[in-house]
Structures are given as C-alpha cells and as structure tokens.
Symmetry: C2
Subunit: 504 residues, 2 copies
C-alpha cells in the first residue's frame, strides 16, 4: 500500500507546528475551546487518556506511601498574603470571588449581589489552604510525615491560552508533604521527581531530563524546584512536572510546628509536587505525526480498533462472527496490567473515511477483516506508529499481540530519544549559541535550535542574551554534571552545565 | 467479653443525633470543617471511601454506555439567564467571580483588580455550560444520543452547612445526555435512577425508595425529577440521588437542535442525573452506631485490620511472622471484585486504645493475634457490625473470610431495611399524621416519626400543614402505587400515595 503524499493533518509539523498541534487535537476529538475565556472542554477521547494517566500516577503515589484527600477550591485572600514570594507569583493571574449571589439588575438581567467580607481566590495551587490545615494536624513528631496528594482543578488567569498547554482552568494533582527534617523533605522532593520521570519515560514513552531550576525559574516560595524537561518535535522544551522543596518557608508563614523528641518546638519542612493535563499536550507533541495523534499503547484508551469489511448481509454475518471471536481472544489478554481494550467500528461509513478516522485518533493497532482475510485465516494489520501494514495469520496475531503493542511502546520512546539526542548540542561560546537559537528565516521561523548544554556561572549575566533570543534555562541536570568548566558567555569558572532551550 | 456500658461516641444517637453524627465523623477522621466558610476538608479515610464509591459508580456508568468528559468550572452569567426556572433555583446561592487579579491595596494588603466584563459563576450544576457545547456538537440524528458524565466539584452557597450533607463546595458526578425522542430520554432518566438504587442497596447496603418528585420539589427547569430516598436512623429522609427528565426546556433555551431522518429540524430531549459526597453522609447515618462508624465491606477502604499483640521482641518476631502469613493468605482473595484489603496496626500504643481506634473507624473485621492464639493456631475475631467476638481456627478464618464479609454486608442492609419498615406507616387521616410527626418533648424533640405513606390529591392543599410540621413530600413511589384512594387531608380522590417525612 502506498502512502498518499497528502497528509491527514494540514498544515504539517514543518509548515506550521503550533497550528498542526491544534489540528491534531481537533482531528482526534480530544478537546475544544469553551465559551468561557481560556477554559477548555476535555472531550471523551481526551479525558479517557487523562484517566489512564491518573490511574497509573495514582498507583505510583500510593506505592510510595501517599494518600489522597480533598481541600477547598477557595483560598481566603489573607492566606495568600502570608508568603510574600508566593503571592507575588500568583496574585497577577487569579480568579477572585467577591459575591455570593445574583439578583435582578432591573433591566431584565442579573448582577452580582451579597458582597463577601473577604474575597476568595479560586486556588491557583493549594500550599496556603492545605498548609493551614497541616498547622492544626501537626503537633508532635509522631504526626509526621504527612504524605497527602490531591486530584483537583486549579485556575490561573492566562491571557494567551492553548489547549492542554496553557489554559485558565486545568486539571492536576498536587502532592503536599510535611517532614520533621530537611533531609527527609529533600528525599521526598527527589523521590517524586523520580516518580514523574518514571511515568514520563515508561508510560508516556517520553524521554525527560531531570534537573534543578535556577533561582529565577523556581516555584514562588520554594527553596529548590526540580523539574522534568522534555523535547517536543519542534525542538522546544516542555516542563512536564515539578517537585518543590519548600524548606521552612511555608511552615513559618503558616506556623506548621511540632514538638520534637526532645520536647523542643520546631518548624516543619514541606514539599509540593504536581503534574497536570499539560502532560496530554506533551504526549501529543512528542509522538504525533502529520497524519494525526499517535498514542503510546500503555496509555491508549483503546489498544486496537477492528474494522469489519463486507458487501452484503451474508458477508456481514461471517465477518462479524470472525471478528467477535478474534476480539474475545485478544481482549482476554493483558498488556501492562490492563486488559487489552478493543473497539469494533461497524458504523455504516466508507472504509477509507473510517480508517483515517482511527489513524487520526491514534489507536496503536488497526485490524481490518474482510471475507478474503477469513479465507486465509488472516487479518490485515496496520501499525499506527510506523504506518506499516501487512497481512498476518490470525492465530499468530493472537499470540503476538502483547509483543506488538510493546514494540510500538518501545519504538515511540526510542525515536523520541533519538530526536532529542540529534537535537542536543554542547555549546561553549556565544557565537555558536546565538547561531543555534536563531532561525534562518526570521519572517516565518523554521523549526530550529534544540537543547543546548552549556556551562554557565551566573544566571543574571545571561539575562540580556536569553531575553534577546527568547531562550530560557530549562534546568541544571542532576545526572552526569559534576565536572566544572567555564561559562560559555563570560568565560568565568562554572560548576555545572545547564540545558538551554526555547520553551512552552 | 462484656461490652462496657460507656459508648465510644458521646453523645449517643438517642441523646443528640445531629451531634452524634459530627462526633462519628471526627472519631473516624473522615472530614473537617475548613477555614473557608462552608467548605470541608475530606481527610484520607473519608476520601478513600469516596474513591471506592466513585470507582463502582464509574464502572456502572460505563457499563450503561456513558463516557466521561470535563467541562469548565465557570459559567458566564448570561448562560444562567437563559433558562428562567433554572436561574431562579440557583442564582440565590452561587459564588460569583468578578475580578481576575489582586493588587496591593496601599495598606500592606491586597484588593481585587482587573474587573471582568461579564461575571462568571462557579458552577452550581452544569446544564447550561454543557448544553452550550452540546448545541454545537449536535447537528444530525446521527450525532445522538450523547451520553456523557462528568466528575467535578460544584459550589452552592449555603448558610447552614453540615459535613458531607450540605456544604458550599461538594464533589459529585453529573450525567448529561441528549436524545432524539422523549421516550428515549425518559428511559435514560429511569435507567439512571435504577443504577443509583442498585448502587445504594447493593454496595452501600442502604435501602432506598425510588419515586418521582412532586412539582414543587423538582429540579429547577426539569419536567420530571426522580429520586432515591433513604431513611436515616433518626427516621428522617435523605435524598441520595436524582435523575431529571428535562424535556425540551434546556434544548430550547440553548438551541440544541438536530435534523431528523426526514430532514426536519427538531429540538432534542435532555436529561441530567447526579450523586454527590452527600452519599458519604448517608452511609454514615444509615449504619453507624454509638461506638462510631460502621462501613459496609464492599466499600470499606480496608476490609480487615490485624492487631499484633506481644510483650517482648521474641514474641514480636513470632507474632509478626504469623500475622504476615495470615495477611498474605487473606489478601490473596477477592471480595466483590476487589482484593481483600488489610491493615496491620503495629504502632506502639496501648491495646485498648488501638482497638477502639479501629472500631471508631468502622473497619468491618478486626483480628487480634497474640502468642496464645498462635499456640492454638487461632485468631481472635471481632465483627464491627454486631460487636460479636470469638476465637476462630486460623485456617477456618482464611476459608470463611469472604463469606464473613458478605454476611456483614447483608446484615447491614437487612437491619437498615428492618429499621425503615418498622418506621413506615400508612396514614389516612390528619390527626394521625399530626401525631406521627409531633415530638412528645417539644423542647428537646426525641427521635420520632418516620416515613408516612399517604394518599394525596393536590400538593398545594397540603402546604400549610407540611410547613407547620416541617414535613415534606419525599416522592411518589414508582412501585406498587397504582391503586387510587382518597387524600388523607382533604378526602378528595387521589391517584397515588406519596412518602412524607422530615428530611435532610
Ligand atoms: Zn502545590
Ligand atoms: Zn446537572
């Protein structure tokens, strides 16, 4: 089968990457903009993907000793005022509730009424409201550690929004933990960034770099922020998860104190960590191609779609019987802890349209079954990741299906890693740096740049250059980063390398 | 073992039922009030119970053809204005977002800034925002039905709040469906109240009556509201779930139209249905006793707690080895589709305190294991529902455990049903009605009344009496309600009986 030169998605990645992203989402029916400024509607196929992500992450959190709980949506304004850096970071972009009812405005419409004594903020993150409860719960070292996670919606007012990547409301989880010692809190911070890296690489098939944020890029109020950074196909970086060591900043602001084993009062040490529906955006941009979405099998809501092909009722009966048995044998098997999930699409629409529908939705394996396939005890198999198609013996397929899904999962990771490695460069001078991050076509910048791995001595020295090139320091990698060098810009001694990139 | 006359919860149900309820929640560490007026914090044990409820309900929704999706938290004020009854029902109690940032107030604090052009309402329910999307998605009869559910938080400003039963913010699911015909939408409405009744009875062990709400008690904007009603141990009714047939009210207000098979434009027929964290309150009030929470095994986060008992390190090693093997064999088994979940509480606190801790948390089975039990190859077993304790052969316990859990589940349902039946009366005259719903002690009303099953002809006729007695019509039962009679108040001919009760 020759692949037509025309792609299912217009424009292609090379032609217009941001617009390609929007069109992939639309073609796969993952989400839509809503009439509420900046808020998205996550449609069933997109939400099922998020649910699979949630389930795996939730199991990982529980396996590392965390429990779920739920805290209020609203934060009293005065709570935000307590941690100075925190309020600075979030006050500029929050939804403020000021009234608690509506009344007729006398012109046939409504107007807000019942002003609140103290305005409430729709949580942009929950350190302050959760911390206020922890201050009550923690009395003694015996109450520690507290290891709690919350699945919730949060709101950060954003002017420029993009589905999944940056929306006013998004869904996420936020872990908030309290510890007796700095060491234990630091260990938690590192443990959770490890969990995120494990999830990104082994479930999303998305390679990531674990690193520490520089001071200017830290979470507002944190002592240290760790992140996982991933390269999208336009070679920009996407921060996919963060884990914050909050030191005693929040415990002092909120008086989270405990009596230690010697009877002395101590401020506790806290952490917070989160990933969000942004991961869905990262997954799309990591794997999809010019024909639409590609889903890693471990997270795909459906692993397989079967398309029965027939001309008349007699053929239909035979094909559906064959398909039914095939489905049964396939779905009796498990891949990666989940029963193999199979759709049979028997809608009365044209075969080509139907096939492309599922290509665009990113279903990992497509099986076509017609009378000729039955005669040969065969199935026509299409792999979404490579586009490869072939006729396979039906029993062989049943025997091999788990291996085939795993081969797709592995291939997706491998090619994403290859892409990142091909687009990562060690750079040790400013001319190369500038050239790397400058498009050849300034009017319609082509995909360019990537990750630059550079020694740097001082964040402030770099600011003008980074601003000019719209490049950011993504992180100081935690691994293989112990040999000192010299700053690529100033030539000063530098202890560590950082990853520089344009970013989402 | 003699049960001490003193109960673990003070006051008892008879002494002060509302306060008993609060104390059960506190003793089981299920939830707490938060510093945000009317909003609760759901603590890990309470949230784990809610998660189990969610998982079962979610499976039931999917088994009946529904998919999950997610819609915005905010509703533009103008959307609420479109459906007149709906806005009337919700405008008086909603959180209104009017600003999108905070700025310094010049006095060291903050003040709202960036006024919104149009205020946003934090969803009290999502018919209007979801309907606005459905209006886009529905073009042709081929697009129908739409069968979508959403798990979400909602906010209804409440002045008098009670944990789980009535809070400003609560968690729920809301199903919203669109159909081509009235018949199909009515069938969906009935199907979902059946699902709720199935869940309440077979998972929560809480008997319910399915019925239709009278016009004054309907959901604002609905043509018909079905509900499930349950009797709490103070004999008051609690509405545990509702399913609404919305007719074409919302589709006309929001222009959800489709082209039918003949090419004519038609307004669609919609439904909505929901249950909330209120179910947790219902579960507590249905089963718990004066020693605290009692959890039905099918939903209990832990089925069993094992308490190792020892005096020294040598005993400890032997006991923990015995306990470890016991745990392994028990947790290899499944009860009601879930692996048997076991806690081992080896904390260094006094045995009595430890035992009562788990009694108050409602864990269905408590196993105590000390050196003497090991000598007899036995386990000391306590059943939470009956308080019964006995020594059992260890292998017998392993063989019987599923049956024992199921016996607890059945017993909880049976005794709740018995309680309801003992406190339900057919009443055919106003004197009996008045006596039934009047406490003997008006100053400190004792637990009294219950469900009254009465013929009635017209809701409006009853209003003064019901208001006086603080009684409401709970529902017109769907089953066994086809024989006409005469109204208990007016003597007019009446088609149906209704259930009357004081209610939460
Ligand atoms: Zn946080
Ligand atoms: Zn609703």
């Amino acid at each position: 089968m020759n692949k037509a030169p025309k792609t299912a998605i217009t424009p292609t990645r090379v032609d217009d990457y941001p617009e390609w992203f929007q069109q992939v989402i639309k073609a796969a029916d993952l989400a839509e903009v809503s009439p509420v400024r900046g808020c998205m509607v996550i449609k069933p196929w997109g939400y099922a993907l998020w649910e699979n992500m949630q389930r795996v992450l939730d199991d990982m959190f529980k396996a590392t000793g965390h429990q779920n709980a739920y805290f209020p949506l609203f934060i009293p304004m005065s709570f935000l005022e307590k941690e100075a850096e925190h309020v600075e970071g979030f006050a500029k972009e929050c939804a403020v509730v000021t009234h608690h009812r509506l009344e007729p405005d006398g012109k046939g419409g409504l107007q807000p009424a019942g002003p609140l004594e103290e305005p409430l903020i729709v949580r942009p993150t929950s350190e302050t409201i959760i911390g206020s409860m922890y201050a009550k719960w923690v009395q003694s070292y015996r109450d520690l550690p507290i290891l709690i996670n919350q699945w919730a919606n949060v709101v950060r007012w954003e002017l420029r929004t993009r589905l999944f990547l940056r929306t006013a409301e998004f869904l996420w989880q936020e872990g908030h933990t309290v510890h007796a010692t700095s060491e234990e809190a630091l260990e938690e911070t590192r443990k959770m960034i490890d969990v995120y890296a494990d999830f990104a690489e082994n479930w999303m098939a998305m390679p990531v770099i674990q690193g520490e944020k520089t001071p200017a890029e830290r979470f507002p109020g944190a002592v240290s922020t760790l992140s996982i950074e991933s390269m999208m196909q336009d070679r920009k970086a996407l921060q996919a998860g963060t884990s914050h060591f909050l030191g005693q900043n929040f415990s002092k602001a909120q008086e989270i104190q405990f009596q230690d084993q010697d009877g002395n009062m101590q401020f506790a040490w806290t952490t917070s960590w989160g990933v969000s529906t942004r991961l869905v955006g990262a997954l799309i941009m990591t794997h999809s191609d010019d024909d639409g979405l590609i889903l890693p099998p471990k997270l795909a809501p459906s692993h397989i779609v079967i398309l029965p092909i027939y001309r008349d009722d007699e053929q239909r009966a035979a094909v559906l019987e064959y398909v039914g048995k095939l489905r049964e044998e396939l779905s009796a098997q498990y891949y990666s802890g989940r029963r193999i999930s199979i759709e049979v699409d028997d809608r009365e629409i044209r075969g080509g349209e139907k096939k492309w529908h599922h290509v665009k939705r990113g279903v990992p394996l497509r099986l076509e079954v017609g009378p000729k396939d039955i005669d040969k005890n065969a199935v026509f198999v299409g792999r979404r990741d490579t586009g490869e198609t072939k006729s396979m013996d039906r029993d062989q397929l049943v025997a091999d299906v788990v291996g085939m899904l795993d081969s797709i999962q592995t291939n997706l990771f491998d090619r994403a890693l290859k892409m990142r490695e091909e687009n990562t460069r060690d750079i040790d001078n400013v001319d190369d740096f500038r050239a790397y991050f400058t498009a050849k076509n300034p009017d319609r910048p082509e995909i360019h740049g990537g990750f630059a791995s550079c020694y740097f001595s001082n964040e402030d020295d770099l600011e003008p250059l980074l601003k000019e090139l719209k490049v950011t320091i993504r992180c100081v990698p935690l691994k293989d980063n112990d040999t000192p060098g010299t700053c690529f810009l100033t030539g000063k001694p530098a202890e560590k390398k950082a990853i520089f990139a344009k970013a989402y």
